[in-house]
């Protein structure tokens, strides 16, 4: 029996090594050490272009968050084969928030990612570069519980507020507290992840929360009239534009500039597709399929941003309004203390890439 057990263990170890080796070979084939992640989009690409040789496509791993704003563009690009046209094959990996995507980029697990406004401070700090603009969002909110005595911003004083530090949640909470003449010292902050915020609010473990869509929708749906929206991004457009962007690690960009350009070109086509009223329902379906949610709940998020087209984006770059928006966003981070030193917007936003992609 012991001999059999020993033999089995040896076989197991050999299998482990062999498996590890085969994984290594797979990575070499794709040209980098990214994981093999399948996605609904990937399946569709292969189904719609049976003649395409997968080996010719460069695999790009993209980190996203499970919401419409994060996914509408990239899913449209996958489904419409815009990425494939550029010689790219997109694998999607789900993350809870932007900072985690940037952290995963640091370890090489993700090549490209989507971030909301809050994670932009990490780009300013040099952790990642913005190679494409996604949209202006309006889905972040601070929500209070009326039954807990929070119906206006001033009511937050002394209350328990759920927040996810380092994310958009923290950004909008800071703005909201400042608007109400409060500081973090005036309230009790409970730092938790984005998902736990929903549970905390629904279970009435906290008095208020700062979060983003679709969490905001879930909370409002569960709490009904008890949920009072205190602020949204729209309230702070002037002092902190709610910019959402496509980012990559600076080292990755240096080594793969052509791929970044190709990805941006595909994004532009997808931006145009998603912006057309006639296509929105289709995009909603694709997103619902990817995140395994019902179409109605995804459809409720389709108004979570201003869905600019590529032409509108180029116009915003040319008239300088986009750079101003990024500058305002940075100024707000400096005011809140999240960013210590001012840096040139062009250091972390690749306007030239955006312009080149439009050519």
């Amino acid at each position: 029996m012991r001999k059999v057990l020993s033999l089995f263990m040896v076989l197991v170890m050999i299998a482990a090594f062999a498996s590890g080796c085969s994984q290594g070979n797979k990575s070499e084939e794709t040209g980098k050490g990214t994981p093999e992640v399948t996605s609904a989009g990937e399946d569709t690409v292969e189904a719609s272009t049976p003649t395409a040789a997968p080996a010719e496509l460069k695999v790009i791993t993209v980190g996203y968050m499970p919401n419409y704003a994060s996914m509408c563009t990239v899913v449209a690009g996958i489904q419409m084969n815009y990425f494939e046209e550029q010689g790219l094959k997109v694998n999607l990996v789900e993350f809870a928030d932007g900072p985690t995507i940037i952290a995963a980029m640091e370890s090489g697990a993700v090549d490209i990612g989507y971030i909301g406004p809050g994670a932009h401070k990490l780009c300013i700090q040099g952790k990642a570069k913005i190679f494409a603009f996604s949209h202006y969002g309006n889905a972040d909110a601070v929500i209070g519980s009326a039954s807990k005595g929070v119906s206006k911003i001033e009511d937050l004083k002394g209350k328990k507020i759920a927040m996810a530090s380092g994310t958009t949640s923290e950004t909008i909470l800071n703005l909201t507290l400042a608007k109400g003449g409060l500081t973090k010292e005036d309230v009790e902050i409970l730092d938790m992840d984005a998902s736990a915020i929903v549970t905390a609010m629904i279970s009435r473990s906290v008095d208020a929360c700062a979060t983003w869509s679709p969490n905001t929708n879930s909370i409002k749906e569960e709490l009904g009239s008890d949920a009072v929206t205190l602020t949204t991004n729209v309230d702070f457009t002037d002092i902190s534009p709610s910019i959402c962007s496509w980012i990559a690690n600076p080292n990755y960009i240096d080594a793969n500039a052509d791929d970044i350009l190709s990805f941006t070109k595909a994004l532009y086509k997808a931006m145009d597709y998603r912006a057309q009223e006639a296509n929105i329902d289709q995009v909603v379906e694709w997103v619902a399929d990817q995140v395994a949610l019902d179409v109605e709940s995804v459809a409720a998020q389709k108004g979570d941003g201003d869905w600019e087209t590529a032409d509108e984006l180029i116009a915003m770059i040319n008239d300088g309004s986009l750079e101003k928006a990024f500058q305002a966003q940075q100024d707000n981070f400096i005011t809140s203390g999240d960013v210590k030193e001012k840096v040139a917007v062009s250091d972390y936003v690749m306007f030239q890439n955006m312009l080149d992609a439009a050519k």
Binding site: L5, F8, M9, V12, M13, A15, A16, S19, G20, S22, Q23, K26, G33, P35, E36, V37, T38, G63, V93, E94, F95, A96, D97, P99, T100, I101, I102, A103, A104, E106, S107, G108, A109, V110, L122, K127, S165, G166, L190, D191, M192, D193, A194, S195, A196, V198, T199, A200, S203, S205, A292
Partner: protein
């Protein structure tokens, strides 16, 4: 799958604690539990942060719905981070304590009572890593965080490395194969779960509640989200871990059997009492039979004397039979008396040479033609009552010779009596190539009044007596045997230091 492994770790810990309450099992259970705590924290963190494929999610959590439930669990990042910290910093302590407990290096044995010192660094780290304390300390600058994290990583690596080194030294130092093979199994178990610990130890708790607030930990990234190992690789590694764990725990159980038996003494006392009661009945019955037989002989002698011409040859025959019966009864009485008297042994330093040569002399007196090889190193001393211990070893040798006779080995049959030192023990070994014993027989051989032979000369007190004598010498008696190959008895006595 990882969830299953977590449950397995917890179950193993509980079973270890239930099976035997000694230091070894306590430390091993501590290792399992602390690893389970750390992995639980990390699994929750992974569920909440995402970054893994659906396939890996299923691997980690068994199902996506499990992952979703964990993802929405209400827990503060401070609490989650500290759960990871507790597991992360207690595992190396239990690993180190396990290694120290097994180690027989003189410097460690002499300072065994100071093993609590191993707690100082981990407990200090746990205080430092308490979220409020940690934030207060790092508020003095990002360098403070870097220093804390670096020092922590260094001591973790040092603890694990030293512990593994000690275990390897110990394994290498054990010359007695019986113990070494069990030590190797324990090593496999420990190394396997230490490997799993190292796979996830890169997750600094500060990353959870100070999410990438410092460049140093930022560089580490969240490596397990990279999924560097394919799912099949993860599965085979976990299967290997499960096998190692099962094999290791089995070996721990066997390895600690010596202590375990002592702990079970209370439980088996009743069984012993019953056995002794039965044995006493057997003894009385046997003596009664002898006396009844004698009565018959007396009657016959009486009837001879009633004859006109008594047959004196017959009388002589009957009186001889009476004498033999009398000797048997006396012998049994002596054995019983000897067993009763074993509580009074007088331990003095005795040379192994004197002990073994006396035993050899006794053996050769009974079996002048016996094939006996005696090996020992000059100068070895043990604390012993030479009469009792010599008698015990003689008993083992007699048993060995009887086993050889039963196997009809002829000139090929032989006994080896040897003595050597192993770590804390002086081992006296009696080896024969006789008939051997089955596993079921091995379990009973120490029971009083147990005998595999049914004769007037064997009534089952020999090995029980030997065992009692060895126990009186603060030693242990162990046996390995295979049917057809022979038996090997080990008398493990505490090593004597002058």
């Amino acid at each position: 799958m990882l969830i299953v492994f977590l449950i397995f770790l917890v179950v193993v810990s509980v079973l270890l604690l239930l099976s035997s309450r000694n230091k070894e099992t306590f430390y091993l259970a501590g290792m399992c539990l602390s690893l389970a705590v750390m992995l639980t924290g990390i699994l929750i963190f992974i569920a909440k942060k995402g970054g893994i494929s659906k396939e890996l999610s299923q691997f980690f959590f068994l199902s996506i719905s499990n992952k979703t439930k964990i993802q929405y669990m209400l827990i503060l990042v401070d609490q989650l981070g500290y759960i990871i910290a507790i597991g992360r910093y207690l595992f190396p302590v239990f690993l180190m304590l396990t290694a120290l407990n097994y180690s027989m290096l003189p410097v460690i044995r002499n300072n065994h009572k100071k093993s609590w010192l191993t707690f100082i660094i981990p407990v200090t780290t746990l205080i430092v890593y308490y979220p409020k304390v940690f934030r207060m300390l790092v508020s003095y600058g990002s360098k403070a965080q870097t220093i804390i994290i670096s020092i922590t990583n260094y001591w973790i690596v040092a603890y694990v490395a030293i512990a593994v080194l000690l275990l390897l030294i110990e394994t290498y130092s054990i010359s007695m194969w019986y113990f070494r093979k069990r030590m190797i199994l324990i090593d496999i178990f420990i190394v396997s779960i230490a490997g799993l610990y190292l796979l996830y130890v890169g997750q600094d708790p500060a990353q959870v509640y100070q999410f990438y607030a410092d460049d140093y930990i930022w560089k580490q990234g969240i490596y397990y989200m990279r999924a560097t190992l394919s799912i099949p690789a993860y599965i085979v590694i976990l299967i290997a871990n499960l096998i190692c764990a099962v094999v290791g725990i089995a070996s721990v159980t066997i390895y600690t059997q010596v202590n375990f038996e002592a702990n079970r003494e209370e439980v088996i006392r009743q069984r012993k009492f019953n056995t002794i009661s039965a044995g006493t009945s057997v003894f009385i019955h046997s003596i009664k039979n002898q006396l009844l037989a004698n009565r018959v002989i007396y009657k016959r002698i009486g009837s001879i004397y009633q004859e006109d011409k008594p047959d004196m040859d017959k009388v002589k025959e009957y009186t001889d039979a009476l004498q033999i019966n009398n000797e048997f009864m006396l012998s049994r009485m002596n054995d019983l008396y000897r067993f009763v008297k074993t509580n009074s042994v007088h331990l003095i330093p005795v040379s192994i040479k004197e002990l073994l040569e006396s035993a050899r002399e006794m053996y050769l007196r009974k079996y002048p033609e016996g094939q006996l090889e005696v090996q020992y190193s000059q100068g070895t001393m043990v604390l012993a009552d030479i009469n009792h211990l010599c008698e015990a070893i003689y008993n083992l040798m007699i048993n060995a010779q009887e086993a050889i006779n039963d196997a009809n080995k002829g000139n090929e049959g032989g006994i080896i009596l040897c003595c050597y030192n192993v770590r804390l023990y002086t081992v006296i070994e009696v080896v024969d190539n006789g008939i051997g014993m089955s596993k079921s027989t091995l379990k009973k051989i120490y029971d009083p009044f147990y005998s595999s032979k049914n004769s007037n000369f064997n009534w089952g007190m020999g090995l029980h007596y030997v065992r009692e004598i060895v126990k009186e010498h603060f030693g242990t008696l162990r046996c390995e045997s295979k049917i057809g190959e022979g038996s090997r008895f080990y008398v493990l006595l505490p090593k004597y230091k002058e």
